[in-house]
Symmetry: C2
Subunit: 175 residues, 2 copies
């Protein structure tokens, strides 16, 4: 799919069919993340692919209020992790790069998924400690985000965006 | 350009020609960022577009060791900022979302740039306080990343990536 079309059709999908994803399609989606850029090309990431219904139901319990039920829908879910030490330590001279690096890589997987006719939904409202305990993710790995991945059973509308004038300024700062 | 092709040809470009970017092309690049997803759709971002050679040379001085000279090359540079308060406050229950949100939006601009035949280079090695003072960026805005934007005067090689087995695991955690 054309880049600009992909950027404009991607939505957060919260209803999925049970249809399985063909291995070669999953491979292309994961590879889109693998090829993503990262600070100093350190690639401080690991992606867990989980199909077990039991594990996924337990993951839902780790989300805020246990309410992100769509994490257990669709064919599988991806848990995106970042390495807190083997990443660039002075991004902007005030933060580590792992969360940004992993965010971009997971986002590239989500763009690939959209191009493949698959749905995703970034889940950020979760208790990291509970997820790490459930999946036995060791330090210094951090859980950055999670998404279900599967064929959509809904077509969510575009939620709108701020206008260009509100988010871009030229030469000088403007609020 | 096709999505997968765009994801595979994007490079960090550090040499640029002086060729100007047509207004409609710059508009498409900025719009790719404007349409990006963000936590709770809060869009906690502002992008400064700077062409002034004087300001850009001063920005280079704010980079680590004053060495990121390519920030002043090409037609213009973009300074990507995030709002620390009007963003999701509990990403993973341990961090604010602004850096991840802005990273994804700036990355989408960089993908659009690649599709338009333009070059970019994420600059993360800078002193945020110095950039904020130079550009008079008020709190609670944070500077997340910067990039030059222009027509490439080099074709950087692919820098390689980790193999799939190293970055993906199935069902259970594996190092």
């Amino acid at each position: 799919m054309e880049l600009y079309e992909t950027l404009s059709i991607r939505r957060s999908v919260r209803k999925f069919s049970d249809r399985m994803i063909a291995p070669e399609i999953l491979e292309r989606v994961l590879d889109a993340g693998r090829l993503a850029p990262s600070a100093v090309n350190l690639q401080p990431w690991k992606f867990m692919v989980i199909r077990s219904p039991e594990t996924r139901r337990a993951l839902v319990e780790c989300t805020r209020g246990g309410k992100q039920a769509h994490l257990a829908m669709g064919d599988l879910c991806i848990v995106a992790c970042g390495h807190e030490e083997d990443c660039y330590q002075r991004q902007g001279n005030y933060m580590k790069s792992f969360a940004m690096d992993v965010a971009i890589a997971l986002d590239h997987m989500m763009l690939a998924a959209a191009a493949e006719g698959l749905g995703t939904c970034w889940i950020g409202a979760f208790n990291e400690e509970a997820v790490k305990e459930l999946l036995q993710i060791p330090n210094p790995w951090r859980v950055v985000g999670m998404t279900p991945l599967g064929y959509p059973a809904e077509s969510p509308p575009f939620r709108g965006r701020k206008g260009m004038q509100e988010i871009v300024c030229y030469e000088k700062w403007e609020e």
